[in-house]
């Protein structure tokens, strides 16, 4: 692996990050950011758009739109089932730009796309980035692209002013945390646990250490994802991180109760930023 140099060299014009701005707005309002994942095309194109809008109107500061992919190695059964259904229903990668545009037009949320890398490579990294920027997207979260392999993405994200959210994990060495923090724009995605996506009854204590390592390496914003499903998780993570990422619980709510349910869960989860007494005790997922 070659050493990665950060392309945003000293003296280059700073690129405004839409997701950083969203996190900072939440902070200014005295809370942390709620970041919500939903897959594009699930259960169908229009419902996915309606669900993302409902989530944004119920407290989510950043929306992650996932691109359904044939080989989602980082996803657990709930998201696998949802994205498999979206693909079976005829989801096409270019549909994601329409969804991003619709959610951006209807809400104040920053909209990131979360994608495995091959669909981006296939379209062409520059072409994908151009269309994402045109649609108003904030940038990309790349679960299977590490900065070591991201030269093309560095160039395109700088050219089109897009955020590049890389992941750090409990297993990341201090050297890799530092390198990844350097490569990131927007926020660092702190993986809470060694595992795939899925709701868990508690959030691993490893998450706090990952966030601390990212902050120590100079990350201004680090948000925690994987396993978060309840308002009490949100409260716990808000104590040390800059944002909380929820995926599987929202996908399950959308699957079981449609747009109203996913909106209600977002509202309940964002209640986790309030003092404990104000939060309903029921679980969302």
């Amino acid at each position: 692996m070659s050493e990665t140099t950060t392309p945003a060299a000293v003296g280059a014009p700073a690129i405004a990050s839409k997701s950083a701005a969203a996190i900072d707005r939440a902070k200014a309002a005295g809370r942390k950011a709620l970041i919500a994942y939903l897959p594009a095309g699930f259960p169908d194109r229009q419902t996915a758009i309606d669900a993302a809008i409902a989530v944004a109107r119920n407290g989510a500061d950043i929306i992650e739109i996932g691109i359904p992919y044939s080989d989602p190695v980082m996803d657990g059964p709930v998201i696998q089932a949802a994205t498999t259904q979206a693909l079976a229903n005829g989801f096409r990668v270019a549909d994601v730009f329409d969804i991003v545009a619709a959610v951006t037009a209807e809400t104040d949320a920053a909209v990131l796309v979360m994608t495995y890398w091959n669909p981006v490579l296939r379209m062409g990294v520059d072409e994908f980035s151009r269309r994402l920027a045109e649609a108003g997207g904030a940038g990309l979260i790349t679960p299977d692209l590490i900065p070591d392999e991201a030269a093309e993405w560095f160039a395109a994200s700088d050219k089109y002013g897009l955020d590049r959210v890389f992941l750090v994990a409990p297993s990341s060495t201090p050297e890799r945390v530092a390198m990844t923090v350097q490569a990131t724009r927007g926020f660092v995605y702190a993986v809470s646990i060694m595992g795939v996506t899925g709701a868990r009854s508690s959030v691993s204590s490893a998450a706090e250490a990952v966030v601390a390592a990212a902050h120590a390496a100079g990350a201004e914003r680090a948000c925690v994802g994987l396993g978060v499903s309840r308002p009490e998780h949100v409260r716990e993570i808000a104590a040390y991180a800059d944002g909380v990422i929820v995926g599987t619980a929202l996908v399950a709510a959308l699957r079981d109760g449609g747009v109203p349910a996913v909106g209600a869960l977002a509202k309940e989860l964002s209640g986790g930023f309030e003092p404990a007494a104000a939060t309903p005790s029921s679980t969302g997922a």
Partner: protein
């Protein structure tokens, strides 16, 4: 990075004989030209780095190499034979065809070479559990075997469709003490088994080593798996020099991920007189869309950690592959093969199910060797290559057919494929039994008998 290849193709060996820059051998990774790399979740990078470090130390550690050599010799039964297939050769234009008998290794295929090496590395890293994916079941059986030998826990992920068509190997793995997890996601074949193995690995990486079964995946797997299979080509080179007195004119091997092939090819990569052929699974035919001819028809992309040729649609979604051979039914291919294809050092061609099964039957009936259906693809390729090369040699040099020498990697034996073959060749009755096997009027051994000895006729109706 393309310089050595360019020099090679130009016929020049460059100024520094033996310098690694001027050889196609021992490519260390992570990149093979523009292929390879580490397209993997960050969570697994630390484990890949640990593995890389452990492997790099081990491969120059005499103690480790002696351990591998000892197991190869006294456990696997290496060196494997190089058998001249004289009657089969008549069907390959009369070229002399030699079979590298990886089918004679313990567990019945080349897979054991890699698995023993990786299991020893797992022990060195202090891991107590290994996981593996398997297609035909040969890699899973080899992994279960190594785990039993070295006292490791073993879990094997296998597509549910592959479990069905390779049921014998599922039972073998279970008898060896491994847990077999049938994978019902996606196409229910090898690629989906790899997906589930990766999900297991990311969650259990502290205790678990992922014994990837082919020269695919993230660095260091392609270079490491090749290293453990290089013994195939090293032996074959010595054996052909002994038996024929010169290097072969051609090598033939089947390609799924490409591990048996790279193992044979590696020793000959720097010998320009040796033509090298890899045979992919052409399934129903490459124009039908139902095949696994990744290099022939795929385009570069990333899957399972490496950039390589990939069967993918316009959106970058992986296309399901199709082959009668579970071991070749994979929509990707090892990155070193992608590189060797691009620079023209190795020629990759598809072989259809029909061609492979014809060769399967031919070898069985001309040589008394039942090959794995995977290996039958290499045999079918050797028939074509033999016919082609002997005709060329006759036209150009007036050579006799037997002047052409071909080595085929017989990567595995066909016991596991007997049911598939019986079905293919119409040997089954409507109940799925081999014809002629249900006529016995005697009691099955061990079956409870009610009384008396005169019930045979009556019992026959129970069959």
């Amino acid at each position: 990075m393309d310089d050595p290849a360019a020099a090679f193709l130009a016929g020049g060996r460059g100024p520094a004989e033996g310098s690694p820059e001027h050889s196609l051998r021992h490519a260390p990774g992570p990149y093979f030209g523009s292929y390879g790399g580490r397209w993997m979740p960050e969570s697994l990078i630390a484990a890949l780095e640990e593995l890389e470090e452990t492997f790099e130390k081990a491969k120059i550690d005499p103690e480790f190499l002696a351990e591998v050599a000892e197991l190869n010799k006294n456990y696997s039964g290496r060196p494997s034979l190089l058998t001249e297939a004289k009657r089969f050769s008549e069907h390959a234009g009369g070229a002399r065809v030699f079979l590298k008998r990886e089918d004679l290794n313990h567990t019945g295929s080349h897979k054991i070479n890699n698995v023993l090496g990786q299991a020893l590395l797992a022990k060195r890293m202090g891991k107590t559990r290994i996981i593996a994916e398997t297609g035909a079941g040969q890699h899973g059986v080899a992994s279960a075997t190594a785990a039993a030998l070295l006292g490791l826990e073993c879990v094997v992920y296998m597509g549910a469709e592959d479990c069905r068509r390779q049921a014998l190997n599922v039972a073998r793995m279970q008898l060896l003490g491994a847990t077999v997890v049938p994978v019902t996601n996606g196409s229910q074949t090898l690629k989906d088994a790899i997906n589930d193995a990766l999900r297991d690995w990311v969650a259990n990486v502290e205790t678990t080593h992922y014994v990837l079964g082919t020269v695919s995946g993230a660095h260091p797997f392609p270079a490491m798996v090749r290293f453990f299979h290089e013994v195939i080509g090293e032996e074959a080179r010595g054996q052909i020099l002994d038996q024929v007195g010169r290097l072969p004119d051609a090598l033939c091997a089947c390609i799924g991920g490409g591990s048996n092939a790279i193992g044979l090819f590696h020793s000959f990569l720097d010998d320009p007189s040796v033509k090298i052929y890899g045979f992919e699974a052409g399934g129903d035919g490459v124009n039908t869309g139902r095949h696994a001819a990744t290099i022939t028809l795929g385009r570069p992309g990333v899957l399972h950690g490496a950039r390589s040729y990939l069967m993918q649609d316009e959106d970058g979604q992986t296309i399901e592959s199709h082959s009668i051979s579970a071991g070749l039914d994979y929509p990707g291919v090892g990155p070193e093969h992608a590189y060797l294809a691009d620079i023209g050092r190795v020629t990759y061609e598809p072989i259809t199910d029909v061609e492979a099964m014809d060769a399967f039957k031919l070898l069985s009936q001309t040589e008394g060797i039942i090959p794995a259906i995977e290996s039958a693809h290499a045999l079918a390729g050797a028939i074509k290559v033999g016919q082609r090369l002997t005709a060329e040699a006759a036209a150009l040099k007036g050579a006799t057919p037997s002047d052409t020498v071909i080595i085929v990697n017989l990567s595995g034996r066909g016991d596991k494929d007997v049911e598939t073959a019986a079905e293919w060749f119409g040997m089954l009755d409507e109940d799925g039994h081999v014809r002629g096997t249900t006529l016995s009027t005697r009691h099955a051994k061990g079956a409870a008998r009610s009384a008396g000895a005169d019930e045979n006729a009556e019992d026959a109706t129970h069959e």
